[in-house]
Amino acid sequence: MHGTRILDEADRLMTVCNSCRYCEGLCAVFPAMEMRRAFSDGDLNYLANLCHGCGACYVDCQFSPPHEFNVNVPQTLAVARAESYAAYAWPQALSGAFARNGLVISIIAALSMAAFILGFAALIDHGVLFGVHTGPGAFYRLMPHNAMAALFTAALLYAILALVMSVRAFWRDIGTPIAGRADGGSIFQAIRDAGELRYLHGGGVGCYNEDDKPTDRRKLYHHLTFYGFMLCFAATSVATLYHYLWGREAPYPWWDLPVVLGTLGGVGLIVGPIGLFAAKMQRDPALLDESRYGMDVGFIAMLFLTGFTGMLLLLLRETAAMGPLLALHLGSVFALFITMPYSKFVHGIYRFAALVRYAQERRSEAGS
């Protein structure tokens, strides 16, 4: 038997599903399952992270509740997935952050924003803090660019280190039956599969939400959120290049690349998370891991907060509200960065790794 109750249940379900296989055309989970006859902890964590939670296999299953076989793959894999985040967290001492994740994320976000506000209030002359600043370098009159860059680079580097260590443990654990390094072709395939959310589609009709009528709503909101996030990241990166390569200092005019990218991304980061939150509220509880509600909503809220404070800052950057808004925005971005390895953010990393593994397995199967 397995280490946890949920992995025992996932094992039971995969045994049921492997003797049925009707769902093999719906997504990647079932073909991956068919490559195995028995399931280790790593196998189950792999399948759990490969699952996008579209719900189609639940609606299509002749053995889902109230049938006595009680087959609920989306919910079981959702719980197993969430537990895998804690199991692979680095350092392990911090894995407890996933236990009451909503609370942890809220406290860190609150502390981070409070720290920036207090820091600004303590270190900056109030005339400057509540003053109106325009023109190149306006933001840096509140916080020097180098200090900002150093602080956020450090936070990001820590997040990357922790994520790399976590995903490394995951990758090793799911390494059967074909261990080894990821090849370029499989990574490219995984980028495409993740980029278009290929498996969040119920086998072609969409996701199952509040009833048995599928829609593509969640896919759309997820795209807005994910690409919004990427655009914001691109905006920051371009601005950093402007700063160091050409000495062009923010804020930039509305038509300039960083602002255009940031505005588009900011809109995505506001609309997307709202949509995802609404979809979650409406979704059939049978498909959800309700005990992880805090983790899911905590991450959605962090993304929304980042987008929302960023857009407010853009709109009001030439008013006296700029100083306090900058503190709020930087506080939320900082919190987002440092909690990345301990928040729902990790779902994307593990799922991407699982998709790479799946692409490898498909290639190896086709080649054999």
Binding site: T15, G25, F63, G204, E365
Partner: protein, 474 residues
């Protein structure tokens, strides 16, 4: 064609153009087809919503003729070839006119069913893994049903669940009304201009099975829901509809004895017979385990086990073949010695050891290949194992207990090409049509070939709905 425009209020009772009794593939195809033909339609499904659809819940594919390869099928599978397959599995017990008509219509069903929202599973491993005769439903039979229900409801078909019909009012071959156990919209009687009966067979009705099988039927497991009780079929036959098909016969396969009494579906089946031997409760072999290849070997074992004492048997094999067949829901029962295994199976250890020793001694050298009728056989024992015979000698020794799993029954109502029921005196009914398992015996007098039940359901469902709507309009 809004539901109300053609929905005639008539005194106290509302009257539908077409009443469909049943909730599976045939019923839904009939309802959709009748609705598209302009009729107001009510579907009465006797089961609760989750268990809707009878045996369709457990199906996976459909057999359709086609002249050219398609996106999901290599081709061709001609009408003639389909007919030959049907002739072979039924041993000629089929109505050729009806069967050829169905096969011809099956070609168009491949596309028609997609227009009703059903999706076929695309090839998972390139064109090499495509089938030729059968198309698979993406997500299986329940997914197919869900799609049909969504389409029917979108079109304005009314559907009622837990709607058990207790009586049919039929006068001189003319359907007038159906009486309900539980009132629907305050009515306990539903009147309609035409009836489509698509309520399946009686495989879940143990008392009825006992009429032919005696107490042995108590040991049968039913692969579908407990709602396939054949009550509509019984009423129709009692009210003068001509019967077709052997009432004593049912399709039965060997399924795991640990399966639930009802609705274990596909996952309880065993296809490991050819890899070992099969013994009864006295640890004796009773039939050639290597007689024929799939699917015939699969379909005969239900009946064979039903004929054994207490309707139980054990597939016994050793550890060398475990990965030769699909993983099973229930794990095999294992023993390090034959005696230990026999103890766990509650068989006489000495008897099982003797059976296996004799079998092993009778195995002749050969080259094993389970995809053909190979030359691995026994000599000097009765019954022989004529193919795939290999010694059972590598522990752990393993076994699956099996019982007869009843899939469907053959008794039905006789119909015409228009799916119109024929009365016992040979006259066609004025307004009663049948589709699906309830009339499958017209085409399938015995035997089975994968996907044929769904072909019968979709083809005759579509025809029955169209004809019923035509009748209602005139």
């Amino acid at each position: 064609m809004s539901p109300t425009s053609s929905h005639r209020a008539d005194g106290m009772n509302s009257k539908y153009d077409v009443l469909v009794i049943g909730g599976g593939n045939a019923a839904l195809c009939a309802a959709i087809s009748a609705r598209r033909g302009g009729a107001s339609v009510l579907v009465l499904e006797g089961a609760p919503k989750f268990y809707r659809g009878g045996n369709t819940r457990h199906t996976r594919n459909m057999r359709c003729a086609h002249d050219e390869p398609t996106e999901i099928l290599t081709g061709p599978y001609t009408e003639e070839e389909f007919w030959e397959d049907l002739l072979r599995v039924t041993g000629g017990q089929t109505d050729e006119v009806l069967a050829r008509h169905m096969i011809r219509e099956s070609k168009d069903i491949l596309n028609w069913i997609v227009e009703q929202g059903v999706r076929w599973q695309p090839s998972l491993g390139g064109t090499l893994s495509l089938g030729r005769t059968n198309s698979f439903f993406l997500g299986g039979g329940r997914a197919m049903l869900n799609a049909l229900y969504l389409t029917a409801e979108k079109l304005g078909v009314e559907v009622e669940y837990d709607a058990e019909v207790t009586d049919l009012v039929i006068e001189d071959g003319m359907f007038l009304a159906a009486r309900l156990k539980r009132p629907i919209k305050g009515q306990t009687e539903i009147r309609a201009t035409a009836l489509v009966a698509a309520a399946g067979g009686f495989e879940a009705n143990i008392e009825w099975l006992k009429q032919y099988w005696g107490e042995a039927a108590d040991n049968f497991l039913i692969r579908g829901t407990p709602y396939n009780r054949g009550s509509i079929l019984k009423m129709l036959l009692a009210k003068g509809v001509q019967e077709v098909g052997d009432p004593t016969q049912c399709h039965a396969v060997a399924i795991d004895a640990r399966a639930p009494k009802f609705d274990g579906g596909i996952i309880t089946r065993h296809d490991s017979v050819v890899f070992g031997i099969v013994v009864n409760k006295h640890a004796q072999r009773f039939y050639d385990e290597g007689e024929d290849i799939w699917p015939k070997r699969y379909a005969i074992w239900g009946r064979l086990v039903a004929a054994q004492p207490d309707q139980i048997a054990y597939i016994v094999f050793d550890s060398t073949v475990v990965t030769s067949f699909m993983p099973t829901l229930f794990p095999p029962i294992a023993g390090q010695t034959i005696a230990e295994l026999a103890g766990k199976l509650e068989l006489d250890p000495a008897a099982l050891e003797k059976t296996i020793t004799e079998f092993n001694a009778a195995v002749q050298p050969g080259t094993f290949d389970h995809t053909i009728l190979d030359d691995c056989r026994t000599e000097g024992i009765t019954p022989p194992k004529t193919h795939w015979a290999r010694r059972i000698e590598t522990p752990p020794y393993l076994a699956y207990p099996v019982r007869p799993g009843i899939t469907f029954t053959y008794l039905g109502t006789r119909v015409t090409r228009e799916a119109r029921m024929l009365m016992a005196d040979g006259r066609p009914s004025a307004n009663m049509f049948a589709a699906g398992e309830i009339m499958a015996g017209n085409v399938l007098g015995k035997g089975y070939a994968a996907g044929m039940g769904m072909t019968i359901g979709s083809v005759f469902g579509r025809i029955a709905g169209r004809e019923a709507a035509k009748h209602a309009r005139n």
